[in-house]
Amino acid sequence: MAAARRLIGFNLLTAIVLGIGGWYAGWFGAHAITGPSLDWFSAADYNEVSVFMAYIGGVIGFLAGLGFLNYPFARLRGYPPSLREKETGGWSRYFSLCTDHKVVGIQYLWGIGLFFFIGGLNAMLIRTELLRPAHQVFPAGTYLTIVGMHGTMMMGMMSSGILGPFANYFVPILIGARRMAFPRIEALTFWLLMAAGGILTTTIFFGGFPTGWTGYPPLESQANAGMDCYILFFALVGISMTLLGLNMIATILTMRAPGLTWTRLPIFVWGVISTASLMVLAAPVLIATLGMAAFDRAINTTFFVAGGGGSNYLYQNLFWVFGHPEVYILALPGFAIVLELLPVFSRKPLWGYRLAVAGLLGVTLLSWMVWQHHLFVSGINGDLRPFYMLSTELISIPTGFTFICGMMTIWRGQIRFTVPMLFCLAWFFNFLLGGLSGVFLSDVPSDVTTHGSFFSMAHFHYTIMGGLIFTFFAAVYYWVPKMTGWQLNERLGKIHFWTMFVFFNSTFAPLFALGFMGMPRRVVTYDPSFQFLNDWVSVSAFLLGISMLVFLFNLVWSLAFKKVPAEANPWGSRSIEFQLPSPVPVHNFDRIPVFTDDPYGYGEGPAPQWVVPAGAPAGRE
């Protein structure tokens, strides 16, 4: 009976049912407005307005089914304000609107993981097609959809790859708070992202989209209704990112515990602030741009149509105003994770704390001034190219701060080669190659050859996959025992690391050579002389995929079957989350902690105990 009530309540199941209902309501509603057609059920008889309205209706239904409208309506009907929804209860918390930041963190981990898996499968399909120079497995349109879905899925969903799971879970704990500033908005960011992921997946029912993740018009205006799924996906991701960023900034600004001054803040929290400020400022540009693109498609405006007084340069400009901060939204959390974990596993204080913070903030600031390096050969603002060349190369200075701080932190330390540490060390290798290949792309004469080739593709896979995904796994191995209360298997973790590191490099390093040899991106066919390297890359990519399966096996095996309880502080960390039991109790702290130092005082005496148990006397010694 109780189980039955759980199913009928507000949860994922009702959300999906209402989401589908809302979709059809939007579809038929829009048909009724735009002129009833003869066959309302025919997919061939669609128009853009009905597609957009269908998905907007679907999203509203989905959110209503999760219960996001309950609280506003309750307030309208005069019920008193309340802060929390569904914080306790069993597994069903994870499938419904829950305002406990720790539940949202775990929801994010699995939700993002699911779409990372789908994006990864797309990559496998791309590499299958590229095994032969002629086009062989997929029709050309399907291939482009796969390429576009891979890029869009990874860029969109993984923007929240570290902030979603780990910042939501650990930022309140690290700053000594019991919750985020806006817990319902926190839950909303997650469910919006899931709705977005669902929408992008359904693009295959509407013929896919041919534009890759950049969605340049006029190709975008030519495309069929699958393009609308791309537009709605990215707009929803943009809304989710904006809200996530706002929530993080508000929380960190206002809810720090006593004693947690700006110079005692864990560097991970500084990374979250940097990333969140980029999200808040960049994502609205994306939303507005896609809004204009949607108008162009649905109601015949001509913002981006050259023949109608608009310009497709406008789209490229606006897209990269978002797009370049976006790549730092992906990379910066990685910097922060590396700097956060190195002190723990070298048992030394973080070296040059202020320089590290300056590095993160410097990248944040400079990332606004570089976007036209994506347009060096486009013919837009030819005279501004020296400026963008300079600003782009300047970014390597604050990035270098992260390098020197990390390197000096392990210098003369007591290095332990745990799985998270291995992933952090791999970051240095990957980001070094990724960053230095960026120098070629930032230099206009070199960029003339490398732009739009496999070289730039290798470059951003080294920085994003090598920078974000490696540190994402470092964070997983470091924090998941704390989040779930179960240990992850160390041996499987090491197998995962070494296979991933070797096959990652074996996959992406040859792409630099292919780009130098002249292979353009996003092609379904290529020069037969490139076949050997492409086959090498494909085989390596499949092995890289298998390495991910090792991780998946480790996760399921350790968390669902083996279930070895994790210690409270398995790493000997001085950070406050490891002074709490694993998993962390619902309200985090019985009493708000008072910080006396930063968490990096290794070698400076015994670790201060900031967490005060419930029964302790009120006074402090």
């Binding site: 030394k348 347009l375 013919g379 392990i410 230099d443 004469p445 732009h451 092609v523």
Partner: protein
């Protein structure tokens, strides 16, 4: 959380820092010239045009600067990871609490800044000589002097055609250029965004509808080069490639004559030559 402070490590009388820096200097002094001499000539896109050779120089300079950086990081990590390992098993021991060193910070900032400013200055110098083969938009800033022939590259889904306004304005499916000549390429598109990429010539310029994107290239000896599309332009983007030729002046004029004869019957139906073409607006909608 055993945290017993550890005695300062280099009591064994060696300076780790001096060792790493010495090793780095030695390794880079060997590696950098080797890389420049051995890898430099292999760097793209070759020497088929002045611009291509110039890009090779840029690539070589960047590679030469990047090599010591790679050496530094590699030497550092090899040394650190071999020497600063915690003993297996046993209680956790803390390292020395080094939090800062002003000298290292300043040295690092100065070295990275100087390197970066040099790279930006060098790149700008190279770019402004003749545009380095990149598309510069309708009003180019880096214009090489001297006599040039104009060729218009018209991109459409999914092929490039080439118009020769100086030779009666015929429009051909082949790109043929005379040797040892400065060529102005006017790149435009009839539909979506393409990118004209003549790999061996070191030319890349986006083709945008209603835009005249200008790139300069000076051909050298006769030979073949490949033309590809470098911007995703829809279904058959991957098939948008063919070969172009650099030929001697006599062969070029013979080819022009043959093309003029070939296209004479349709020449009167061609629209007049323009730097940019107005595409039919792509409209859809409700």
């Amino acid at each position: 959380m055993a945290a017993e402070p550890m005695a300062a490590r280099p009591s064994d009388g060696v300076s780790h820092g001096r060792r790493v820096i010495t090793a780095w200097l030695v390794v880079s002094a060997i590696a950098t010239p080797l890389v420049v001499v051995l890898v430099g000539p292999l760097l793209p896109p070759g020497n088929a045009s002045t611009q291509a050779s110039q890009q090779v120089i840029d690539n070589t300079v960047i590679t030469g600067i990047v090599t010591p950086v790679v050496c530094l990081i590699f030497v550092f990590f090899v040394y650190a990871l071999l020497n600063f390992r915690a003993p297996k098993g046993g209680a956790l021991v803390d390292g020395p609490p080094l939090r800062n060193h002003a000298g290292i910070q300043i040295a690092w900032m100065v070295i990275t800044s100087v390197t970066v400013l040099f790279l930006a200055g060098f790149g700008t110098y190279e770019l402004l000589q003749n545009g380095a083969g990149g598309g510069q938009g309708p009003s180019p800033v880096a214009v090489p002097g001297g006599k040039k022939i104009a060729v218009q590259v018209i991109a459409q889904q999914w092929e490039f055609t080439y118009r020769y306004p100086g030779f009666g304005g015929f429009e051909s499916h082949e790109l043929v250029l005379p040797e040892d000549t400065y060529v102005v390429l006017h790149v435009t598109s009839l539909d979506v965004v393409h990118s004209f990429w003549a790999y061996e010539l070191g030319v890349k310029a986006d083709a945008n509808p209603r835009v005249d994107n200008v790139a300069f290239v000076r051909t050298k000896a006769p030979g073949m080069f490949q033309v590809r599309c470098a911007e995703l332009c829809g279904l058959w983007h991957g098939y948008m490639y063919n070969n172009g030729h650099v030929v001697s002046a006599d062969q070029f004029h013979a080819w022009v004559k043959s093309q003029q004869a070939l296209y004479k019957p349709i020449a009167k139906y061609l629209p007049g030559f323009r730097r940019e073409y107005l595409p039919a607006p792509v409209r859809r909608g409700g």
